[in-house]
């Protein structure tokens, strides 16, 4: 443990970038928000290395800073009966749905000194997702002007990010591995009305292991962000 600490504090000076991957299972949205806030503080203080949290949320609709109420399509009663929570997210973007079967990744990274560019960060996250999907022989792509990752004209992964004081990132991406797609009917995803959503399970026509997708994501984070090793 002591050596890990020295690795992470050395990071600014040398090449030893370190990523710690935490697999947390099913985590309520509010709990994940608190955990992220704590890790952002700790990352800023240099107490922990860069983090990648991989988890699932119970059904929840989250509102980004540019969210429009009319993009939540269910009324409150219906939402409650469906057991879907509603949360302000404190990230960029519009309305998003999260639920079981969707793999959510929250990278808590210090972008200093050489990655202080928000657009680059989002393109990098897209790259992570594209590579992970390629490992499953899914050919996905970017679409100019629409952050996220797409298969044909359907969204397979959404991105919404927050950068806190000190270039510390939180929030991140949500990859549809095998979620119940009909729940997306409760929202207009990211305010984009004319395109649907899809999932890896649908594209591949069979079950997909969340654990394997998590492995692939950790691996492509390693490549794209150029980490020396995983803690």
């Amino acid at each position: 443990m002591a050596s890990r600490q020295s690795d992470s504090t050395r990071r600014d000076a040398g090449p030893a970038r370190l990523l710690e991957v935490q697999r947390l299972g099913l985590v309520p949205y509010g709990v994940a928000l608190q955990l992220q806030a704590r890790l952002v503080e700790q990352r800023r203080a240099g107490l922990v290395p860069d983090q990648l949290l991989l988890l699932e949320h119970p059904h929840v609709i989250t509102l980004g800073s540019s969210a429009r109420q009319e993009h939540v399509l269910v009324d409150e009663t219906e939402r409650r009966l469906l057991g879907i929570e509603l949360h302000e997210a404190g990230r960029g973007g519009d309305v998003t749905y999260h639920g079981p079967g969707q793999l959510v990744g929250y990278p808590i990274l210090d972008l200093k000194p050489d990655r202080c560019d928000l657009h680059r960060y989002m393109r990098d996250l897209e790259e992570v997702l594209l590579r992970a999907l390629a490992a499953f022989a899914i050919r996905a792509r970017r679409r100019a002007g629409f952050t996220g990752v797409w298969v044909d004209h359907q969204k397979i992964a959404a991105i919404g990010v927050r950068v806190s004081s000190g270039w510390i990132t939180s929030h991140g991406f949500a990859l549809n591995v095998a979620p119940r797609l009909e729940y997306f009917g409760a929202i207009v995803p990211c305010g984009i009305t004319d395109h649907g959503v899809t999932s890896m399970a649908r594209v591949l026509g069979g079950p997909v292991s969340l654990a394997e997708v998590a492995d692939a994501l950790a691996e492509s984070m390693l490549q794209v962000f150029d980490y020396g090793s995983i803690a």
Binding site: G46, S65, H119, Y121, A135, I230
Partner: protein, 486 residues
């Protein structure tokens, strides 16, 4: 005293503008250096902008919701000597030379004021803390990937696969497909990927090499044993099991009517299938004598009416169940992964018929309420359930449930255990019945009010004897309800 600009920062090379989404400080507020001052948003990103210097927020130029170009002045901060020394300044900013350098931000080309570090000296400034407090501060999270993978896993051939072999074998499906097509045993390949796993590149260069190398007679039995597709890992198994519920379709006949399920029906349908798939259901029954409780209800009816509360049999049952659960933590628990999750609260879900549809509002901390208290909660929840006015938290978090098919005359039911709980109690119709009882040593036939109860329980967690003890205790609590207990 100096007036410092707070410009819209350049947050990325291709970012030309930003929207002020929220001012975190108001005019007149004191700000510490690097303290978050406002939030801006661009595209899919929210970013906190820290104060470039300590002082007082003197003027806000760009209001919330406005979009401006990079470099536009958003606000002004008045710095004053000694401002940073004010007691409210939190963790006294690291020794980053607090000397007011008004022009500093403009001096540095494009990394101007954004997030703190721009102003910090490059490397050594970061304080290196001691190891012990670090450990304490770390969140109690699961161990990282590598550790999680270390356990050996039994292999098909009976011998235990080493962690290393398993890591190598665990490669992406694409790589596995290539391996299967070419009859390659992945453990033979030196992986360069994450945790030593075999990447696509690895296997392609391996194949290329193999093609060039002279054909070696190859170890006889080996490759066939590669347990790639045959073994279903536990997590994979559960994923298939939990996967989207598919309801079989049936051909419609001419006079039939096909009506799509509404969302609530669909949800209920899926929940019931999943609940029953996962938990092995067992039901046990017991007959409960309600004569005593009936007497108590008669006696107090007018008093309760004056208080405007209707105390149903269900209120007594919920109270007794909560008290009994205190003694049976295993019935107030659930299996979660490889563990048993004992619930810290006793929250009793009460099924309410909406006709059509059903909802299960929750009486929280039912063990802390008396019978009348529970009755009030149930009346309130049931009323608002019918008016569709329940709050989300009022239908979540049940640790045990009660359903009352008896209210419609049913003898008793065998209810399905809601996901994430260990048991559900079904209460049958309360009816007058002739019962053989012993009175002063003589057998007599008496007319008593009786009902059948059924307890549906998850047999993974609750054994038959547990359930029997639970039901016997519940019966005892209900039948022995003290006359003056209200």
């Amino acid at each position: 005293m100096a007036r410092i600009d707070v410009p819209m920062p350049q947050m990325g090379e291709s970012i030309a503008e930003g929207t002020v989404s929220k001012w975190l400080k108001q005019v007149g507020d004191a700000v510490a250096r690097d303290e978050p001052l406002l939030e801006i948003s661009t595209d899919k990103v929210d970013a906190e902008i820290p104060a470039p210097a300590a002082g007082t927020l003197a003027e806000i130029v760009v209001g919330e919701g406005k979009t401006v170009e990079v470099g536009t002045v958003l606000a002004y901060i008045e710095t004053e000597k000694g401002a940073a020394a004010k007691p409210e300044a939190k963790a006294p900013a690291p020794p980053t030379a607090e000397a007011p350098k008004p022009e500093a931000p403009k001096g540095e080309p494009k990394v101007a004021p954004p997030p703190a570090a721009a102003a910090q000296p490059p490397a050594p400034a970061r304080p290196v803390r001691e190891a012990a407090p670090v450990e304490a501060a770390r969140p109690a999270a699961r161990p990282a990937v590598v550790a999680a993978r270390a356990e050996p896993e039994p292999r098909g051939d009976g011998r235990t696969e080493t962690a290393e072999e398993r890591l190598r074998r665990r490669s992406t499906p694409l790589v596995r497909r290539i391996a299967a097509e070419h009859g390659v045993d992945l453990t033979e390949i030196e992986g360069t990927g994450y945790a030593g796993r075999v990447t696509k590149q690895d296997i392609l260069s391996y194949l290329e090499q193999r093609a060039r190398a002279p054909v070696v007679p190859a170890r006889a039995a080996a490759p066939a044993a590669a347990p790639v597709e045959g073994v279903i890992l536990a997590d994979h198994f559960w994923e298939i099991f939990h996967g989207q519920v598919r309801h079989p379709e049936f051909p419609a006949r001419p006079a039939d009517r096909l009506e799509p399920m509404d969302r609530i029906r669909r949800l209920t349908a899926d929940h019931m299938v999943r609940a029953k798939r996962v938990a092995p259901h067992v039901h046990s029954f017991i007959e409960v004598d309600f004569t005593q409780i009936d007497r108590i209800r008669q006696k107090n009816r007018s008093k309760w009416e004056q208080q405007g509360v209707k105390v149903s049999y269900t209120a007594f049952v919920a109270w007794a169940a909560a008290q009994t659960l205190l003694e049976f933590p295993r019935v107030n628990a659930t299996i979660s992964g490889e563990s048993v999750l004992f619930r810290g609260e006793i929250n009793v879900g009460i099924a309410v018929d909406l006709d059509p549809g059903l909802i299960v509002p929750v009486v929280r901390n039912a063990d802390e309420l008396n019978v009348v208290g529970i009755a009030k909660r149930i009346n309130d929840l049931a009323q608002r359930a019918r008016e569709r006015k329940l709050k989300p938290e009022e239908i979540q978090g049940a640790t045990f449930s009660i359903t009352n098919p008896g209210v419609l005359g049913t003898l008793v039911g065998m209810p399905i255990i809601p996901e994430g709980t260990a048991a559900i109690l079904g209460t049958g119709a309360i009816e007058k019945k002739p019962v053989v009882m012993e009175l002063d040593g003589t057998d007599v036939i008496a007319i008593r009010k009786r009902a059948l109860f059924s307890l549906g329980y998850d047999h993974r967690l609750v054994d038959g004897a547990d359930a029997a003890r639970f039901l016997a205790r519940l019966k005892h609590v209900l039948e022995g309800f003290p006359e003056d207990g209200i």
